[in-house]
């Protein structure tokens, strides 16, 4: 990774993210936003993040892309606990605990 690559990404992402945050607060005002746009925006987070995570869970680079029981079960526990408790911290702790327990049992990382 070259320094230019890193700095360019930081600057462009910074400006882009700020413009997204400022958009309606700064310029138009949410009053005028058509309903169909809002309807799509509501799903941006659940549309991007699951697709980003899925390959990391199924084909972790730490095991050279092989399915790993420790990481897979940790992922399922994290998601399950998050779904049931709606509590981010509880989900992270449960998932991390599962990962360490499985790694200890299987004796490998």
């Amino acid at each position: 990774m070259s320094a230019g690559y890193i700095w360019a990404i930081i600057l462009i992402l910074g400006v882009g993210t700020y413009l997204i945050r400022f958009s309606f607060l700064g310029l138009i005002g949410g009053r005028d936003l058509p309903e169909w746009v809002l309807r799509h925006l509501r799903y941006t987070a659940v549309a991007v993040l699951p697709g980003l995570v899925a390959p990391l869970v199924l084909w972790p680079s730490a095991t050279n892309g092989e399915i790993d029981p420790a990481r897979l079960s940790a992922a399922l526990v994290t998601f399950g606990v998050g779904l049931l408790t709606r509590n981010v911290i509880a989900a992270i702790l449960a998932g991390g605990g599962t990962l360490f327990a499985m790694i200890a049992i299987m004796g490998a990382y």
Partner: protein, 237 residues
Amino acid sequence: MAEATQKSYYWTGFRAGVPFVLVVMPFGLLFGVVATEAGFTSLQTMAFSSVVFAGAAQFAALQLMVDNAPMAIVIATALAVNLRMAMYSASLSLWLGDAPLWKRALIAYVNVDQSYAISINKYEDEPQMILPDRIAFFFGAVTPVCPLWIVATGLGIWLGDGIPDWMALDFAVPICFLAIIAPMMRTLAHMVAAVTSIVVALVLAGLPFNLGLLVAAVLAMVIGAQVELWTERRAKA
């Protein structure tokens, strides 16, 4: 008199923000560690957290950068992760749109998941709040959370390589994302969108430049919106 109520709204907001310290602290720490491990200098890591100031997008960008994705793909994907903030901006502008421009410019910088969620709940619960109270509450909610993001990143850099292999740090990012996603599964539409995103991203994983993820995200958004329409129509029928 009015100033006294604003002061108290500031502190009400502050107290509402405090629990999120528990989320922001480990997440920021982790970013510091992971970015350092990926080869970022301290200055680059600190700049990333303070200029971009968006946890999920920073992790998404970092993951793609480690995979040597082209710059345009890194930026498009991370901005897609942040698009939800346009929705926050639109919804906040209903309540804060009459504030002076410089205050709105400042609010925009700290318009993040936590401050948005806390504030919008409060505004909807107490619609009689006046504009200065709403602004005071917003900045109160932001105070325990936002500066901490940058401090936590710094701590992560400092911890850096001190984290042993058995901690399987490679998997901290997926766990954090999963913990954030799970509570978002509020409706059928959210679930269908998430499943679409997963399936399409996996099927198209072979596409160059991580384009598969972008295609998956766009499809999932459209399908989520369609399912929402469909559920609404069914509820009315």
